[in-house]
C-alpha cells in the first residue's frame, strides 16, 4: 500500500508497510473541520464586513461583524489546538451571540429578512455540531479531587534515604572524587 510519508524517508530507514489504527475519534475530525470553518468565516467577517451586512440587510453593523470575525478566528485557532475543547465551547457561546445579533435584524421592514432566516437556520445547525463536538472532546484528565494512587514507599534508594545521604557525606569527605562539569 502506498504511504505518502514514505517518499521523505532517508534511504535505508524504516518505511510504513501497513498503518495501525488512528487514535483520532470522529469528534476530533469534526473539531478540526469546525476549526477551519471558523477561521474561514472569521476572515470573511473581518475583511469583508460590508458584504455580510448587505447580504443580511443590516447595514451600519460593520464594526460588530468585524468583532465577530475576530472572535471566530480566535475560537477557530483554539479548536485546532490541543485545547480544542475550550475552542469548541467558545464557538458554542459565539453561536449564541450570532443568533442574538441575527434576531435583532429580523424586523418587518428588513427587505433581506429571508436571508436572515436562512442564516439563523445555519447557525442553529452549526451550533448543534459545535455542541456535539464539545461534548465528545471533553478532556479525560481526572478531576482535581479524584482519588489518586500515592507512592510513599518508592524512595528509589535500596539502602534507604539515610544510606543515600551517607553516600553523599562520603563524597563530600573525598571532594576530589565528586563529579565535575569538566570530566577531564
Amino acid at each position: 500500500m502506498f504511504h505518502f510519508s514514505n517518499i521523505v524517508r532517508t534511504k535505508g530507514d524504516p518505511k510504513i508497510i501497513e498503518g495501525g489504527p488512528s487514535p483520532k475519534q470522529p469528534a476530533d475530525q469534526l473539531a478540526r473541520a469546525l476549526g477551519w470553518f471558523s477561521i474561514g468565516l472569521g476572515v470573511v467577517e473581518l475583511f469583508a464586513p460590508r458584504r455580510v451586512t448587505e447580504t443580511l440587510g443590516m447595514e451600519g453593523s460593520e464594526t460588530m461583524v468585524r468583532a465577530f470575525g475576530l472572535r471566530e478566528i480566535v475560537a477557530g485557532i483554539m479548536s485546532l489546538s490541543v485545547d480544542k475543547n475550550a475552542g469548541l465551547w467558545a464557538r458554542v457561546g459565539g453561536d449564541g451571540l450570532d443568533a442574538a445579533a441575527l434576531l435583532s435584524g429580523l424586523t418587518a421592514d428588513n427587505p433581506k429578512k429571508g436571508n436572515i432566516a436562512l442564516a439563523l437556520l445555519m447557525v442553529g445547525g452549526i451550533a448543534m455540531l459545535d455542541y456535539r463536538a464539545a461534548q465528545d472532546t471533553k478532556p479525560r484528565r481526572p478531576a482535581r479531587d479524584a482519588t489518586r494512587k500515592l507512592f510513599p514507599s518508592r524512595s528509589g534508594y535500596p539502602k534507604g534515604l539515610e544510606g543515600a545521604r551517607g553516600v553523599a557525606r562520603q563524597i563530600a569527605a573525598h571532594a576530589n572524587k565528586s563529579p565535575s562539569l569538566n570530566p577531564s
Partner: protein, 391 residues
C-alpha cells in the same frame, strides 16, 4: 516490525514498518527489549516542536540486544551484547565529544543544515526527535538502527533487570546532570520545579550529591508523594504560593540552587496570568515556549545562585526577567544531557545499590498499547508517571 509512528498532532499509531538496515560500517542493529515514553515525547505528541514528519518513529529511551553490527565497529560491540542506547548519537571523535560535550557532537546530525539555521550551530543527532536533530528513527519499535554504534552505546551487564538500567538512556543522567550543574554544597537548598520522571531523578541526584534540603514543586499528589519518598519537602502550587513557601523554607533568603524539570509546557492556571498569556501566544504560534518556571526561578533564586535547566525548550520565550537575572548575579546552566559523560558513574551506583531508578515506573505494557499510553501519560490518568513499553 512494529513501531510507534508519528502521524500528526495527537496521532501516534502502532504501524508495521520495514526493518532497519545497516547503512554505515559504524552502525549496529539492536533488538529492543524495553523502551519508554519520555515527558519530552509529549512535546512532539502535541506538535509543539517543529520538524516532525508523518512516518517518523518515536522514542529515545531504549535498550536491547545487539543482533547485527557493521564492519567498522571495530570490536567495541558485538552480536549478543546487552546495551542501553543513549538518546544522543555521538561520534566520539569530534572536538566536542573529546571535551565530553556529547550532546553537541559536531558530526552526528545528518541534517545539520537545519540545525545550523535554527540554532546557529548543529547539535548532536537524536533518536526520534524531529528532523532538526537528524530525523533518526526512534526506539519505540522492535528493532533500532544505532548509528555510530561503536561510540553510541552503554554496555550493561547481565543479571540486572532492564527496568533498573533503561533510564541510563536519558532521564537518570538528565536529572543527574541537572543536579551536577548546580555545584551542590552541603549547606545548599535545591528547589526543583516539576516532579515528573526527570524531576524525580533530579531529587535523588541532589540527595546523592549532598544537598542539605531538597524542595520539590508540583501539583499532582502521586508525584508529590514519590518526591517525598525520595527525601524532598514538597510544595503543591495549586494549594500554596511557591514564592511564599520557598521563602519560609529558606529563612527568607531563597534557594541557592534551582532546577527546571518542566520546560516549555508549564501548567496553565488562572491565578498565574502569565501562563494564560503564554498559552494564548503559543496557540497563535507567536511564542514557542511557556517559560513560567524560568520566570519564577529567577525571581526566587538567592542572589549569586545557580539555575539549572533540564526541561526542554524549543524556540522563543517571552518576558524573561533579565533585569532580575543580571542584577542578582545568577548563573544559568542548560543543555541536553551529555549522557555518556555520566553513565559509568551512574551504572556503578546502580550496581552498588545506591539507587534503583525503576522506582519511577508506574505502567509496563506491550508496545502495541503505546498510542493509548501517550494519552494516559498526557492526561495523568491512573496516576501515570512513567510508562515502559515491551516490544
Amino acid at each position: 516490525m512494529k513501531a510507534l509512528v508519528w502521524h500528526g498532532k495527537e496521532d501516534i499509531r502502532c504501524d508495521t514498518v520495514t526493518d532497519p538496515e545497516i547503512q554505515d560500517p559504524r552502525d549496529a542493529i539492536i533488538k529492543v527489549t524495553s523502551c519508554a515514553i519520555c515527558g519530552s515525547d509529549l512535546h512532539l505528541f502535541h506538535n509543539f516542536i517543529p520538524g516532525m514528519l508523518p512516518g517518523d518513529i518515536m522514542g529515545h529511551e531504549t535498550m536491547g540486544e545487539v543482533v547485527e553490527v557493521g564492519s567498522g565497529v571495530d570490536g567495541k560491540i558485538k552480536k549478543g551484547d546487552r546495551v542501553v542506547v543513549p538518546f544522543t548519537i555521538i561520534c566520539g571523535e569530534c572536538e566536542q565529544c573529546k571535551r565530553g560535550n556529547f550532546s553537541v557532537c559536531e558530526t552526528t546530525n545528518r541534517k545539520r543544515h537545519l540545525a545550523d539555521k535554527v540554532f546557529g550551530h548543529t547539535t548532536a543527532g537524536l533518536f526520534g526527535y524531529t528532523h532538526l536533530t537528524g530525523g533518526y528513527p526512534g526506539g519505540q519499535a522492535e528493532y533500532l538502527r544505532v548509528p555510530y554504534a561503536d561510540a553510541t552505546h552503554i554496555k550493561v551487564p547481565a543479571g540486572i533487570p532492564d527496568e533498573q538500567l533503561l533510564f541510563l538512556s536519558d532521564i537518570f543522567p538528565t536529572g543527574w546532570q541537572a543536579a551536577v550543574q548546580c555545584d551542590i554544597e552541603p549547606t545548599d537548598t535545591v528547589a526543583i520545579w516539576g516532579c515528573g520522571p526527570v524531576g524525580q531523578m533530579a531529587i535523588r541526584s541532589a540527595i546523592l550529591l549532598g544537598a542539605n534540603q531538597v524542595i520539590a514543586i508540583d501539583c499532582l499528589p502521586e508525584r508529590l508523594s514519590m518526591a517525598e519518598a525520595g527525601g524532598a519537602t514538597t510544595i503543591n502550587f495549586e494549594d500554596e504560593s511557591v514564592v511564599e513557601r520557598l521563602s519560609e523554607l529558606t529563612d527568607g533568603k531563597g534557594p541557592e540552587k534551582c532546577i527546571d524539570c518542566v520546560g516549555m509546557e508549564a501548567h496553565v492556571m488562572a491565578s498565574q496570568p502569565d501562563t494564560l498569556l503564554d498559552r494564548a501566544k503559543q496557540m497563535a504560534m507567536i511564542e514557542n515556549d511557556r517559560p513560567h518556571v524560568l520566570r519564577e526561578m529567577i525571581y526566587v533564586c538567592r542572589p549569586g545562585g545557580i539555575i539549572s535547566v533540564a526541561g526542554v525548550y524549543s524556540g522563543l520565550s517571552d518576558m524573561l526577567p533579565m533585569g532580575a537575572f543580571m542584577n542578582k548575579g545568577l548563573t544559568m546552566r542548560t543543555g541536553q544531557t551529555h549522557v555518556n559523560r555520566w553513565t559509568d558513574d551512574l551504572l556503578r551506583r546502580i550496581e552498588q545499590g545506591e539507587i534503583d531508578p525503576s522506582f519511577v515506573i508506574t505502567h509496563t505494557v506491550p508496545l502495541e498499547q503505546g498510542p493509548e499510553m501517550y494519552e494516559m501519560f498526557r492526561d495523568k490518568r491512573d496516576s501515570c508517571i512513567k510508562v515502559v513499553l515491551k516490544p
